[in-house]
């Protein structure tokens, strides 16, 4: 499955539903689809639209879903300049706990089985394994 999501934060929810509702039955447990996949994909799309495409209505974010025998892989790629994922502060530290932003990648890392980035830093790959 491939889709281009308009660079509009209001489209994130619909794009997430489209992906989640089109996964073949049995790919992942219903609970993992309901919560882990939906939350992680919303995070990835929100980050790509806000920071990658700058909410520019003339740009879009590409999503590709790969079904493997034992896992689902979701690639989210924007056309931005990328960012350094190693420089993000820990949102659970006391000095950060009342910050409004900065939890996205932390949340993703806890909800999926594997997270990978492309070299440029403008693409993320989320892997959710069946049976996990």
């Amino acid at each position: 499955m491939k889709l281009d999501v308009p660079s509009d934060l209001g489209m994130v929810g619909d794009a997430v539903e489209l992906v989640a509702n089109n996964l073949p039955p049995g790919t992942l447990s219903p609970r993992r689809i309901s919560f882990n996949l939906r939350t992680a994909l919303a995070e990835a799309l929100g980050n790509a639209i806000r920071y990658g495409t700058g909410e520019d209505p003339d740009r879009s974010v590409r999503v590709r879903v790969e079904l493997l025998s034992d896992a689902v892989r979701i690639y989210v790629v924007d056309d931005g300049s990328g960012f350094d994922t190693d420089r993000l502060p820990d949102p659970t530290r006391p000095e950060n706990i009342e910050r409004e932003f900065g939890r996205g990648l932390f949340v993703i890392r806890h909800l999926v089985d594997d997270v990978a980035f492309n070299e440029k830093g403008n693409g993320i790959c989320l892997t959710l394994r069946a049976g996990a």
Binding site: G10, S34, R50, I97
Partner: protein
């Protein structure tokens, strides 16, 4: 997705979140609560019993609202988190920032 606001007889505003609280609708929730704060309400319960998922933008707006309500001498309580959402609050340590109860009724009784 839908937000509902109602006031109980003691003046506590109960906000229902149906569906999800994410980057695409966080501003709508924020504005509704801030409007109620502006109109004089000080005690709030956000009921997540009909909520499927919350992303980090949703968590962020709760942090922001909590601060604004506290600055006005009020209090925000959260209720009705399912097991996955409860885990999300625990892993982000936001369970230490909010008063969280099992049901909205329990939250109301605690004011």
């Amino acid at each position: 997705m839908r937000f509902t606001l109602k006031k109980d007889k003691s003046g506590v505003v109960i906000v229902g979140v149906e569906g999800q609280l994410i980057v695409g609708n966080r501003q709508e929730l924020k504005q509704k609560v801030l409007d109620a704060l502006e109109e004089g309400s000080r005690k709030f319960v956000i009921d997540f019993s009909k909520t499927g998922y919350i992303d980090s933008s949703g968590l962020g707006v709760l942090v922001s609202l909590s601060k604004k309500i506290r600055e006005q001498g009020g209090e925000l309580r959260l209720a009705g988190l399912n097991a996955d959402l409860q885990t999300l609050f625990e892993l982000t340590k936001l369970d230490t920032l909010f008063a969280i109860t099992r049901t909205a009724e329990e939250a109301l009784a605690a004011f």
